[in-house]
Every structure is written in C-alpha cells, then in structure tokens.
Subunit: 368 residues, 2 copies
C-alpha cells in the first residue's frame, strides 16, 4: 500500500470496491421491521461473526474520529479517498457481507434490504461519484429478486451484490430468479468476498477450517473459483446472454489456471454440458470481470504475463477496497502497468461494464 496521492489529474479512475458501513446497527432501525430489532442489540445474534476476522478489519487511520468505524462517515471518506486519489466514480460495496451465512432467510433478507435503504439515503446523496450496489441475501433467491425489483430502477444502482460464501454453487437453478431480476433491471451481478466458512456455509478451505487468518486469507479465492466454475458450467451465460458478472476481492492470478483447466476438460467432457456452445474461457472473457485488490505481487514482468494470460485489457478492473486494512492505492497498482493496459484497468473496462458515459464523468471531474 502506498498512500501518495495520484499524480496525474488527467488519468480517470473508477474504484470498483469501496466499502461504506454503519456507524452502528442502530442505523438500520428506521428501515427494519420491529420484529427484528431485538437482534440488533445482541451482537452475537445480529450476523454470523467469523472467528478468523482480522483485527482490526479496517485501517485505523481511516476512522472519521469520535470512535466511529472507518467507512461510516461519507464526508470523511470523500476527502480521505475520492478526493485524495482523484477517483471519478466509486462503486459502493457495503458491509454486512456475512448476511448470506445467517440461518434465517427472512431476517437475512430484511437486514440486506435495510442496509440498501440506509446506503441510498445516507451515502448516495452525498457525492455524485458514488454508485450503489443492491446487497441481497442468497438463502432465498425469490426474496432476493423481489429486493432487486424494489430498488433496481434507482438511477444510481449499478449492480446486485452477492456475498461469495454459499452452501450451494451460484450456477444452480434455484439462483436463476436473481439473474432474471438483474437482467430485467439491466444490472451487473457482483460476487464479493464474504461469509466463507461462516454460519451455515461450508468450511473456508476445501479440507476443513484453517488455523490462522493468514492461512484463511491465502485460500479465500477458492470460493470465487467455485462460483465462477459453477456459473459457467451450468450455462448461466447461455440462459442470460446479456448478463455480466464481476468477481470482487478475489485476486486475479488464479483465473488463467481455471480457464485453462476448464477448456482442457471441455474437450473431454463436453457431452455432460451440451448447453455450452463455446469454450468456457470464451464465456469468461466475454461475461466475467475481476477486480485488482488484493492484487498479487510477484516480479512485475510475471504480473504482466499473468494479466496477459487472463486478457486483462478486457477483464480486469481497478479497486481499492477502501478502507479495509489491506486496501490498495491507485498509484500502488496502476504504476505497475504499461500505459494502455493501465487505462483499460483504471477506467475503461469499468466504464464499459457499468455503461457509464465517459464524457459525462470527465465533465463532472472538471466541475468538482
């Protein structure tokens, strides 16, 4: 991480992973049915809490003061991140991402819904650069689809956000109401880290729970891999040909391996998936996007090779993960990249994914 401000004002940046959070669970009360209020007073019953959680999760220097959590004050976050790094747009990816790991699907849906209202009321009006995600709990995809239809037409909403942790892979048919609603509302589907190994979900590692948060964090991307593999294999992109899926906070360097393995196996086992009309890697490059943070940090020539293998000029988008402890500054990531690739990753790929009008954004940048 490098906290130096971005050098050039001319280089536009879209941040695809910017975390807003609550000052406290009290913030949800205006949007939450009273039947659920008692849970807000009992932290152990509010949401599944991972025993592996890094302490602290967020940068202490990103706190707005007065003992408030980092990312809980829009004005502070605007100064501390958007202005400091000259960010053109920031997609809010929220918090409460263990919501899909809760045992109660009705409560989980109500919490996600209340958080969405809180975001639209308390964050979106504070700065034109913020864009919103609709957080949904995946335990009940029909309730999730209802939430998407409730808020999907809001002009600042650009995507549906699914925490990656799940008991069932997202390619399976019971999740189709979510994709139908996303497509109906012209929204991207975002799959973001959260809920792995918590609550009702399977263990973090494929062979049981790890021992340390270090071990946990190293292996988290297997959940992104499993979801991507399921979505492609089940033919979700044949059923929903306009759907785009963005994988957030899963890292990047596993993508070539999975694409290659899927393509190899497709040659030997395509008779099992007759609904697939092209190679798995073609669906991935056309329909899937991946954000940079936490970007792997090998020698730079190896990073560039890996990015080339995954067609990063089309598939990779910049993200800070502000204000989490391991967030990346734009300079740290983008200075590693050659010019044209830097422009694609910093701005163009996200602008195309979210259908943002380039000149409009740049004008806003100038007027601010």
């Amino acid at each position: 991480m490098d906290l130096a401000p971005t050098k050039s004002k001319s280089s536009s940046i879209i941040d695809c992973d910017f975390h807003q959070t609550l000052k406290s669970f009290e913030d949800l009360k205006p949007y939450l049915p009273r039947v659920w209020w008692p849970r807000l007073c009992a932290p152990e019953a509010t949401l599944p809490i991972t025993i592996f959680k890094p302490i602290p999760l967020s940068r202490r220097d990103a706190s707005p003061g007065k003992g408030l959590p980092p990312g809980s004050d829009p004005q502070y976050a605007i100064e501390d991140a958007l202005n400091r790094y000259n960010i053109s747009k920031a997609v809010l990816t929220g918090s409460l991402l263990t919501v899909s790991a809760h045992n109660n699907p009705d409560y989980a849906a109500a919490i996600a819904s209340a958080f969405n209202d809180y975001t639209l009321d308390h964050w979106i009006p504070t700065d034109d650069r913020f864009l919103a995600s609709i957080l949904v709990a995946t335990q009940d995809p029909v309730l999730a689809a209802r939430e998407i239809d409730r808020l999907g037409s809001h002009p600042k909403v650009v995507q549906v956000l699914l925490p990656v942790g799940s008991r069932e892979p997202f390619g399976q048919r019971r999740f189709y109401p979510i994709y139908e609603a996303a497509v109906r509302n012209n929204l991207v589907v975002a799959i973001h880290g959260g809920g792995e190994g918590d609550g009702i979900n399977p263990p973090i590692s494929a062979v049981g729970q790890p021992t340390t948060n270090f071990e946990r964090h190293n292996i988290l991307a297997i959940h992104h891999m499993s979801q991507l593999n399921s979505i492609v294999c089940e033919g979700v992109f044949e059923t929903f040909p306009t759907l785009k899926v963005i994988f957030i906070e899963g890292g990047l360097a596993w993508v070539p391996h999975l694409m290659w393995r899927m393509d190899k196996n497709f040659r030997g086992m395509r008779n099992e998936v007759p609904w697939l009309k092209k190679k798995p890697s073609e669906y991935i490059i056309e329909h899937c996007r991946f954000t940079t943070q936490p970007i792997e940090e090998p020698d730079n020539h190896e990073l560039i090779q890996m990015l080339s293998m995954m067609r990063a000029e089309k598939t990779v988008l910049f993200a800070t993960d502000y204000p989490h402890w391991d967030n990346d500054s734009p300079t740290f990531v983008l200075n590693k990249l050659p010019g044209e690739l830097r422009r694609r990753i910093a701005y163009e790929n996200a602008a195309e994914l979210y259908e943002l009008n380039h000149s409009h954004v740049e004008k806003e940048g100038v007027s601010r």
Copy 2:
C-alpha cells in the same frame, strides 16, 4: 493424449503417477482380517463411491482383457506403458483412494494395509522399474504411522501416499505422527487426488457440491491448494526440515497464484505465524513438488511462462496417470518443453526427490 511411442531411447523418464489396481476386492482377502470380509461382498459398503465418478474411470484400451479392470495385470501394464514409453521407473500410486473418506478409521486402516501388502506381493516383484507407495488412511494418523513403520524399510518403498480429501487440513498437529514416521523412514509424503467430497469429507467445491463431473473435475485442485497452504502455514517444514511433499494429479498452473498470495499476505500477517522463518514460496520451492498430469493446455508460450513462474526446473515432475481416462503420454507432455527443462521434468527432479541413482537406473534400462 498421444499414444505414439517415445522417440528417443536415450531420454530417461520417471513416471510419478502409475495406477495399479485390484482384479477384484477378493484380492484383498489374504491380507485383511476376517472381521472386515463381509464388507468386500457389498460394493456400497466397501469404500465411499463418488456419484461424480467418470464412467469409465480408466481407458478401455488399457484393459488386459477377460473383463479385467485396466491396471489390474502387471504384465499387461508393463507392455502397455513401461515398455511402450521407455519408462525408467514408475512410482505406483494405487487405487482405493477414497479410503480416507470412510466413516470407520479401523476398517479404513485395514483396507489400506491390505492393499499395500497386495502391491508388494503382486506388483513390485514383476519388474524392477516399479517403486511403491504406502497408502494410508488419514482418519487416524497414529494408525497411519504404524503402517508406515511396518513397511517403510522395504527397499522398493519410496513414499507415503495420502488421499487429498480430508475433513481437516494436513498441516494441523494431529497429522504430525504421519510426518514423523515418513521422516523416520526416509520417505517422501505424496498427496494424491481422491476422496474429495466423498463420505465424511466436505463438499467438492468450496460452495457446495457441483452438478456434473465436468464441473467437479475443473475445481478439484482447490483441495491440493488447501492442503499445501495448510502445510506451509502451520510450519510443518520448520518442524520436519528434511520432509518433501509431492502433490500428484492436481495440475500445475495454480501454484504461482497461491505462492504469490501467500508471500503477499506473509508481509502483512507474519505475526500470526512466528514459526515461519522465510517466505512461503521459499518453503514451497524447497520442499514441494508437483506432477504434470493433468497438465493445463494453453498456448505453449503461456505454459512455459507459467512453468517458469513456479520454478518448474526444480518443482515439476512428469506423470502419466496411466491407465486413467485422461492420462498423458510422455511425448504429449515432454515435447512441449525446451531441452533442459524437459530433462529436469522427465527425469532429474524425480531422481533427486526419490534419491534414485541415475547411473544405476540407466544400467537397468540397458540390461532390460
């Protein structure tokens, strides 16, 4: 797969994954306590059977005839693979690899033990080129260690074989009796595909069971990743500094991603693992080895780049996976590689790992 014979007689090859199997479970009876015999007559109770299993698992053309399973007749396998491909040594990796997924640890240990006796009696004497693994069931590591001590001094035994599927990651302390016994007997520890998602083990994918064998096979390597990550993070290589671990049938191209992610996180979280004295990638390159099959098949220059990223000149070993359906011939794999790297992967890395005397092997090759 390319079935053409290996061109040059001079290029020595060690095959690190050669599967022998039983003609039928009856073959185990001479080595198995009578109390377990009734299970051998009831296929559904013998070993966990994966519903995802490819049908057939093995190449039909590798059957010795008379309706016998491929890999069940040493003489046929010697002609069909060792002689055809001019293989100098073949490490037998057996079958019954769901043994660690069985609910009963005593039965599982007895089955593994019987299979080892069968291998040493029926396969090892048939050809000097065969080397043996000791299959152990990991449910009870103390019983596993006893089995390693029982057979570990046999001159043809080169390694202990653990199926990768497990309820607990292999770095955890309850597995240390296995590593102690392996080191005591100067044996490599091999972790081989098998038991993922079967019986008592967690699901195949990190987010629940997949739908097709295609989807299953694409994601299997997350079990290898999880075990490697656990073993390094827990400091197994600090506790057992002479231990070597070979990861078989997990593919290769995921290794750079995991090494890079571990090294990055080590910079931020090494306070959680004070027993680690160097970067995770250094332990991996020094102590871990990976076999080629099922090798990923991107454009060749991308494969060479990926192999360079994982220091393949030291870490990668050739394997056929004979006689399974997706086995690789030496020509198919080795012809992709430049000369020096080909020699390392085809022969040298395995000869060093298993401490095989090069000139001794070549002499055997000539006298045959």
